[in-house]
C-alpha cells in the first residue's frame, strides 16, 4: 500500500500514458499495443477451445487480467476450505480489484486485510502453509516485496530442505504481486524483480501473459504443486488485456514454456507484457522481410524453467533473441542466452541477443527510453537475422 503505496489504480489503466515522452505521429513501430486485435489474446471463445491446455467444451467469459485473477481466487476459495486470501487492502477488493467481493462471499476469516507489513504477510503465509493451509498472500506492489525478502529467501525457499525427513513443507503457498512498468510508476511502482527470486532454488517464479493463462497458472500454483510460488502479475495488463477465460477449474502446468507462434528463422524467448511488443515486432519484420518467420516462446515459469522447449526451438532456427523488461545486468536473459550457448552452440548462426531494460533505475521522465520497446525488439531481430 505503500506508498504511494499508492494504490495506483491508474497504474493499471490502459491506454498507457506517456509521462516520459511519446512516439512521434509518424511512428510505425512504437505504437500503443492494440490489445483488441493482438494475436496473443483469445478474442473468440472458439479460439480458446481450440487450445489443448484449456478444458474442452467449457463455457467461457470475457475477462480482463484482474477479473481472471479474481475468478481464480474465487475458484480456489470454493474448491478448498484451506484456501485463505490476505494482504494490504485486500478486504475491500485490493487496490487493483483482484480480490473484489471475495470477503463478502467467503467471509472475513478467509479473506482479510493485514496490517501494513510485507515481512509479516510473508512470514504469516509461510506459517499457515506449514500447518496445512493454502495461503494466497498479496504484496501490493512487487516494488514493496523487499521487506519480505528474508522470509521468502531464507524461509519459504529453504523450508523443505531444512525440514528434511520431517517431511514438512510450505506447499500451497503463493505470494502474488503486481509488477512491471506502466508509463508513470517511476522508481517504486515499476520494478520486475523476477530474476532476484529466480536466483533462489526452492522457489517457483511464474509470470502469466494473459487472463486465461493467469487463471490456469494460479490454480496450478495453489493446487498442483507443493512448492512455494512467487506469482508476478504484469499490472499494465490488469485492465488492458481482455480475453475469453474458461469459467471452470483448470490448470496449466508450471515449468512448461509455450510456443505461442511457430517460426523457422529465429526464436524470441520472452514472458509477461513484452510478449505483446515481440508480437508487434514480429509482424513488422515479417512484413518488411518477406519469407522470414519468427518463433515466439512464452517461458511462463521463469524458474525452474523449461530449457528443453527453448533449446529445441533454437536448434531448429539457429538464432535467438531474449526480451524482458527488467534490467539486462544479471537478468533472466543472461541465464537463457548462456543455456542456449551451452546446448546449441554448433547450431547458432548469430550471437544470442538480449533486449532488456538498461542498467539503471526507472526514472519517471525516461521510462520509454530505458525499457524495451517494439523498435528496439525489431532492430534486434533484424540484426540477428542479418548477422
Amino acid at each position: 500500500m505503500v506508498s504511494l503505496r499508492t494504490p495506483l489504480r491508474s497504474l493499471a489503466q490502459a491506454p498507457r500514458r506517456f509521462y516520459s515522452g511519446a512516439p512521434t505521429p509518424a511512428a510505425k513501430l512504437n505504437l500503443p499495443i492494440d490489445y483488441k486485435t493482438t494475436p496473443i489474446l483469445h478474442h473468440t471463445s472458439s479460439s480458446l477451445s481450440n487450445t489443448s491446455e484449456y478444458p474442452a467444451g467449457a463455457t467461457s467469459k470475457r475477462l480482463n487480467l484482474y477479473q481472471a485473477i479474481n475468478s481464480a481466487l474465487r475458484t480456489a476459495l470454493s474448491k478448498s476450505d484451506r484456501t485463505i486470501v490476505f494482504g494490504e487492502d485486500v478486504g475491500f477488493g485490493g487496490v487493483f480489484r483482484c480480490s473484489m467481493d471475495l470477503q463478502t462471499e467467503f467471509g472475513s476469516d478467509r479473506v482479510f486485510n493485514t496490517p501494513l507489513t510485507e515481512q509479516g504477510i510473508a512470514g504469516f503465509a509461510i506459517g499457515a502453509a506449514a500447518e496445512g493451509m493454502k495461503p494466497i498472500a498479496e504484496i501490493q506492489f512487487a516494488d514493496y516485496v523487499f521487506p519480505a525478502f528474508d522470509q521468502i529467501v531464507n524461509e519459504a525457499a529453504k523450508f523443505r530442505y531444512r525440514e528434511g525427513a520431517t517431511g514438512i513443507n510450505v506447499g500451497g503457498l503463493v505470494i502474488r504481486m503486481p509488477c512491471g512498468a506502466v508509463g508513470h510508476g517511476a522508481l517504486y511502482h515499476s520494478q520486475s524483480p523476477e530474476s532476484l527470486f529466480a536466483h533462489i532454488p526452492g522457489l517457483r517464479v511464474v509470470m502469466p501473459r494473459s487472463p486465461a493463462q493467469a487463471k490456469g497458472l494460479l490454480l496450478s500454483s495453489i493446487f498442483e504443486h507443493n512448492d512455494p510460488v512467487v506469482f508476478m502479475e504484469p499490472k499494465i495488463l490488469y485492465r488492458a488485456a481482455v480475453e475469453y477465460v474458461p469459467n471452470e477449474y483448470y490448470t496449466i502446468p508450471l515449468s512448461k514454456a509455450e510456443v505461442i507462434k511457430p517460426g523457422e528463422d529465429l526464436t524470441i524467448i520472452s514472458y509477461g507484457q513484452p510478449l505483446y511488443m515481440c508480437s508487434s515486432a514480429i509482424s513488422a519484420i515479417e512484413k518488411t522481410m518477406p519469407g522470414v518467420s519468427v518463433e515466439l516462446i512464452d517461458l511462463r515459469t521463469i524458474y525452474p524453467w523449461d530449457r528443453q522447449t527453448v533449446i529445441n526451438s533454437v536448434k531448429k532456427t539457429g538464432r535467438a533473441v531474449v526480451v524482458h523488461e527488467s534490467m539486462i545486468n544479471y537478468g533472466v536473459g543472461a541465464e537463457v542466452a548462456s543455456t542456449i550457448q551451452d546446448s546449441a552452440f554448433l547450431r547458432l548462426e548469430a550471437p544470442v541477443k538480449r533486449v532488456a531494460g538498461w542498467s539503471t533505475h526507472t526514472g519517471l521522465s525516461y521510462e520509454q527510453f530505458i525499457l524495451p520497446d517494439v523498435a528496439r525488439t525489431y532492430d534486434a531481430i533484424k540484426q540477428t537475422l542479418e548477422y
Binding site: Y19, P23, L29, G91, L116, L187, N329, L364, Y366
Partner: protein, 448 residues
C-alpha cells in the same frame, strides 16, 4: 547462560571511553539477587518488584493516553489560566499562510491530475497543522526525513512554489532530475531528504542520521546541536522498520523526534485493522521513549509539543521522542484512490465540517482581530494566481537531459552504461520517427 556471562565479563573489562554518548549500563556490578531482595535484578528488567499475585496486564484496562490541545475547535484557548502560546502574531500569520498555500496548491494540482496534466498527486488536506506547526519548531540546520504527505513541512522550511512545481512536472529544474513520481520533493538546505515511496524505510534512517548529527556536534561543540525530525503515518508504523527504528534510536540515545501522523486510514485499511493497542503513542513507552499524543488539528499544540520534544531530544546527551498527532484523512489517499469505495461520504463530510486545522486557526486569528474575511479572500486569490503562474511555467519547461536516465546510479557512469547510452543513441538515430526527444534538454545530444 555461560556464554552471556562471558560476554558480559569481557565487555566489563574493556575501558569505556565513549561514556558521553552511551546511556547508563543496565546491569549493576553483580547480577545475583541480594538475599531478601524484594525486586528482580534480571539483566532484562532491573527494577521489577516480586509479587505473589499472578496478574496479566490488560491493555484494555489501561487508560487511553490523553491528547494534548491548546485551542478548541472554535479557536479559543482551552485553559484560560495558562499563558497564551509563545508566538508572535506575525509568526502565526506565516503559519496560517503556509497552511493555506499548501491547501490552495492541493486543490489546483488534484484537479490538474484529473485533467491528465500530471501523472499523480497526493493532497495533505487535514494534516497541514501537523506539518506546518511541527516544522516551525525546527531550526534550519535540523534534518527532516518525511513520508509523502508533508508538503507543509517543505513549505514552512522555504521550499518555493517554483520548487514544488518543478518537481511535480519533473522538469529540468527539479532537484530529483525528473526521476521521481510527483510529491517526492527534496531539498539540500534546510535539509529534507528526497521522499522515497517505500513505507517506513526513512524511520531507521532518521535514527542513524540523528546519531551522525550527535557525534558531529559532540566533536564540534561550537555549533548549535541539531536534531532529526522524522514523519510517517500510522500505517507505516506497522512495518518492521518502525519498530527497529524506535528500538535502535532508544538504545543509541539518538536526538530524533518521530512524528506519527495518525489520520485513521492507510489507503482503505482503518486503524482497527492496523493495530489493536492505544494508537502509536503506546508503543513509544514500550521502547522507553518519551511520548506525547497531540491534537493534530491544533497547530499551537503541535508546535508546543514539537518545541519541547526538540529540547528533550537534545537533553542529557540526546534521546528520541515520539509525537503522535491525531487527525482525519479528509482526502482520498491519492489521485489513484477513490476512498468512497470503503468509507461513507457522510463520515468524511462530517469531519470536514467538524474540525480542520486551517478553519480552526482562522477562527483563532479572527478572534484575535488579526484576520478578516477580506484578507482571507485576497490571500486565497493571490495564492491561486501564484500557483497557476508557476504551474504554467513549470509545465512548459524542458525535461532534464536524457543523460540523467543513467547518471547518479553510480558516482560515475559505468563502462557498461556508456555502451548502453551509445546503443540507445544509435536506436534513436536509426528510428527517428519512433521517439520524440524534443522535450528533453539537449535532445539526442544529451546522450553524448
Amino acid at each position: 547462560m555461560s556464554l552471556k556471562l562471558l560476554t558480559r565479563n569481557g565487555l566489563r573489562s574493556q575501558p569505556i571511553n565513549t561514556a558521553r554518548i552511551v546511556p547508563a549500563r543496565r546491569w549493576s556490578s553483580s547480577i545475583s539477587q541480594r538475599p531478601g531482595s524484594d525486586s528482580v535484578r534480571f539483566p532484562g528488567a532491573v527494577n521489577s518488584k516480586f509479587t505473589s499475585e499472578m496478574a496479566f496486564l490488560k491493555a484494555s484496562d489501561l487508560p487511553a493516553i490523553p491528547t494534548y490541545r491548546v485551542m478548541d475547535s472554535d479557536g479559543y484557548q482551552v485553559d484560560k489560566t495558562r499563558p497564551a502560546p509563545n508566538v508572535t502574531n506575525e509568526e502565526v500569520l506565516t503559519w496560517y499562510k503556509n497552511m493555506l498555500s499548501v491547501s490552495v496548491m492541493d486543490v489546483v494540482m488534484f484537479e490538474a491530475q484529473r485533467q491528465g496534466r500530471l501523472s499523480f498527486y497526493m493532497v495533505s488536506a487535514g494534516e497541514e497543522g501537523i506539518t506546518v506547526g511541527s516544522a516551525a519548531a525546527l531550526t534550519p540546520d535540523d534534518v527532516v526525513f518525511a513520508q509523502y504527505r508533508e508538503a507543509g513541512v517543505f513549505q514552512q522550511r522555504g521550499f518555493t512554489l517554483k520548487n514544488f512545481m518543478s518537481q511535480l512536472f519533473a522538469n529540468c529544474n527539479d532537484t530529483g532530475r525528473g526521476r521521481n513520481m510527483p510529491v517526492h520533493y527534496g531539498q539540500n538546505y534546510p535539509r529534507m531528504h528526497t521522499i522515497s515511496s517505500p513505507l517506513a524505510t526513512q524511520i531507521p534512517q532518521a535514527a542513524g542520521a540523528a546519531y551522525a548529527l550527535k557525534l558531529q556536534d559532540l566533536q564540534n561543540p561550537n555549533r548549535d546541536p541539531r536534531i532529526v525530525a522524522c514523519y510517517f503515518g500510522e500505517g507505516a508504523a506497522s512495518e518492521g522498520d518502525f519498530h527497529a527504528a524506535l528500538n535502535i534510536a532508544a538504545t543509541r540515545s539518538c536526538p530524533v523526534v518521530f512524528i506519527c501522523r495518525n489520520n485513521g486510514y492507510a489507503i482503505s485499511t482503518p486503524t482497527l485493522e492496523q493495530y489493536r493497542g492505544d494508537g502509536i503513542a503506546s508503543r513509544g513507552v514500550g521502547y522507553g521513549i518519551d511520548t506525547i499524543r497531540v491534537d493534530g488539528n491544533d497547530v499551537f499544540a503541535v508546535n508546543e509539543a514539537m518545541k519541547e520534544a526538540r529540547r528533550l531530544a537534545l537533553s542529557d546527551g540526546g534521546r528520541p521522542v515520539l509525537i503522535e498527532a491525531m487527525s482525519y484523512r479528509v482526502s482520498h489517499h491519492s489521485t489513484s484512490d477513490d476512498s468512497f469505495a470503503y468509507r461513507a461520504r457522510v463520515e468524511v463530510e462530517d469531519w470536514k465540517r467538524r474540525d480542520n486545522p486551517i478553519i480552526r486557526l482562522r477562527k483563532w486569528l479572527e478572534n484575535q482581530g488579526i484576520w478578516s474575511e477580506d484578507q482571507e479572500k485576497e490571500t486565497r486569490d493571490a495564492m491561486r494566481k501564484a500557483v497557476l503562474k508557476e504551474f504554467g511555467e513549470a509545465e512548459n519547461e524542458k525535461k532534464p537531459s536524457l543523460r540523467d536516465a543513467f547518471t547518479d546510479v553510480y558516482e560515475e557512469i559505468t563502462e557498461e552504461q556508456r555502451e548502453q547510452m551509445a546503443e540507445l543513441k544509435r536506436i534513436l538515430e536509426t528510428y527517428p520517427d519512433e521517439y520524440d526527444v524534443r522535450p528533453y534538454k539537449d535532445g539526442i545530444n544529451g546522450l553524448d
